[in-house]
């Protein structure tokens, strides 16, 4: 049986402010570094071949790295997500709470 195939980068990828785009296999997606400051990446995103963007992905890692998971329906991705699900729920609750507080202040 064949259950999973991977297409991996053969050589290390190095991106900076000048050389800020890595194009995925067959142009299927792009990894774009939008803003970097020495030891922090302040903004980065992934684009698909149709130009859809994920939006800025820098928040969770606070700019320390660009580790990433995309598509919860892929079992490899969902296994990794399963290890951090509880943390994700807590983070979402905290974000909802912060937004509610902002709205509350704005209403005053």
């Amino acid at each position: 049986m064949f259950i999973e195939g991977m297409l991996e980068n053969d050589q290390p990828i190095v991106l900076d402010a000048a050389n800020n785009v890595f194009v995925g296999p067959n142009g299927y997606f792009k990894l774009v570094i939008d803003k970097i400051d020495n030891d922090k990446v302040l903004a980065w995103h992934v684009e698909d071949a149709a130009g859809n963007s994920t939006g800025n992905l820098a928040a969770r890692a606070k700019g320390k790295h660009v580790d990433l998971l995309i598509n919860k329906n892929n079992r490899t991705v969902s296994h990794f997500m399963g290890r951090i699900n509880l943390a994700l729920v807590s983070e979402l609750q905290a974000q909802v709470k912060a937004l509610q507080a902002q709205q509350g202040q704005a209403a005053k």
Binding site: A58, H65, D67, N71, F80
Partner: protein, 380 residues
């Protein structure tokens, strides 16, 4: 780099001639068996990574793409992702050959035509607690993930092994083993017929029923072809007498739809520069002739017999599977008898055949020819 499919087809046709997976040119340190950081970015749904429903002779399945980045860092104004640190992943839920299953790669569906596998075995190795030993080509590990003391309420070590795969994920089954004078090893067969107890409730004080000194364990753990035999389990680690598990050697795919149909003797199908003719159809077999249209070279084979014995391990048994397929000498085309066709492989004197063509092979690992900046690797 976006490649036009017209030029890609020619590349893939040449690629199909490669029967032995070639080595990768340079081999920098790779982030294999590495998980993404726990504070990684998470995108639950994204249009560019698809979930595609497909149909086969047997069932409908959904194939799912994804993207993973692991082992990355930011330093001195640069983002660095190690080799194999970024991977596109495509999942094929237990797809098999012969049954019309498909594989999704970068948004395109490919017919899953052929495959070969291997069994990797290691023997007499000591595995330390929370450590692992490599096996096969060194891209996977047998990991002694947990050593639990006191699982039964008294201090005896219980080891749980996991198989860490190239993707950083674990094989879906764990392998718990224990071995101690305080435990009854069920590999002796002591529980094969059950115990002599009658249904009911027992107390330790009942004559001959002190179940609080009766604890079972197994020094062998299995999952299908995969087995682990422990000869010693201690709080510090475990001695593995033997461990074996399977892996893919290569898979064979094509983007082109096969020529397919029920053929009576003398009828033909053509595709990709090849023609197949059913020359004889019996109750459980068919004689077929495959011809290369350009060279005129031909190959003949009697496919079958289709019996309960011959199909019992189909489609995974690659030795017996050879009875049901015919290839040209360069493996550019493959004819299969459709064992899993809904109406049966043979009906009313006709045989259901598929002629796959424009085949290409993907090794474990091998360069991804349409874009050689990438390596294809099955995660099995």
């Amino acid at each position: 780099m976006r490649m036009r499919w017209t030029s890609l087809s020619a590349g893939l046709a040449l690629w199909g001639l490669l029967t032995v997976p070639i080595c990768l040119a340079a081999d920098p340190p790779r982030a294999l068996m590495v998980s993404p950081a726990k504070d990684c970015a998470v995108v639950a749904d994204f249009a560019g990574f698809k979930d595609v429903k497909t149909d086969s002779h047997l069932r409908k399945i959904t194939l799912n793409e994804g993207l993973v980045i692991r082992g990355s860092k930011v330093e001195n104004g640069k983002v660095v992702i190690p080799a194999s640190g970024l991977y596109y992943t495509t999942r094929t839920p237990k797809s098999g050959v012969l049954q019309g299953d498909k594989v999704l790669i970068l948004g395109k569906l490919y017919h899953f035509v052929d495959q070969a596998s291997q069994l990797d075995v290691i023997k007499d190795v000591w595995v330390k607690k929370e450590a692992g030993v490599p096996f096969g080509d060194g891209t996977k590990k047998l990991e002694l993930s947990t050593m639990e003391m006191g699982a039964n309420g008294f201090p005896v070590p219980n080891a749980t092994f996991k198989i860490l795969k190239q993707s950083g994920n674990y094989y879906g089954v764990t392998f718990p083993v224990a071995k101690s004078d305080l435990l009854i090893d069920i590999t002796s067969g002591v529980l094969n017929q059950g115990t002599k107890r009658d249904p009911g409730t027992y107390h330790p004080s009942d004559p001959g029923q002190d179940f609080e000194t009766e604890f079972y364990a197994s020094s062998v753990a299995v999952s299908g072809q995969t087995y682990l035999v422990a000869s010693q389990v201690t709080p510090e680690g475990a001695q593995v007498r033997e461990f074996a598990t399977g892996a893919a050697r290569y898979i064979v795919l094509t983007e082109k739809d096969p020529a397919a149909g029920y053929l009576a003797p003398g009828e033909k199908l053509s595709g990709g520069g090849f023609t197949v003719e059913a020359t004889e159809v019996g109750p459980d077999y068919a004689q077929v002739k495959l011809t290369c249209d350009q060279s005129g070279q031909s190959w003949t084979k009697r496919l079958g017999p289709i019996t309960a014995e011959s199909i019992k391990y189909m489609p995974v048994d690659e030795q017996t599977r050879e009875r049901f397929v015919l290839r040209d000498a360069q493996s550019r085309a493959l004819v299969q008898i459709n064992l899993y066709q809904a109406d049966g492989p043979i009906k009313q004197g006709k045989v259901s055949l598929s002629l796959y063509h424009d085949l290409f092979s993907l090794g474990n690992p091998c360069p991804w020819e349409p874009d050689r900046r990438f390596v294809f690797r099955p995660d099995t």
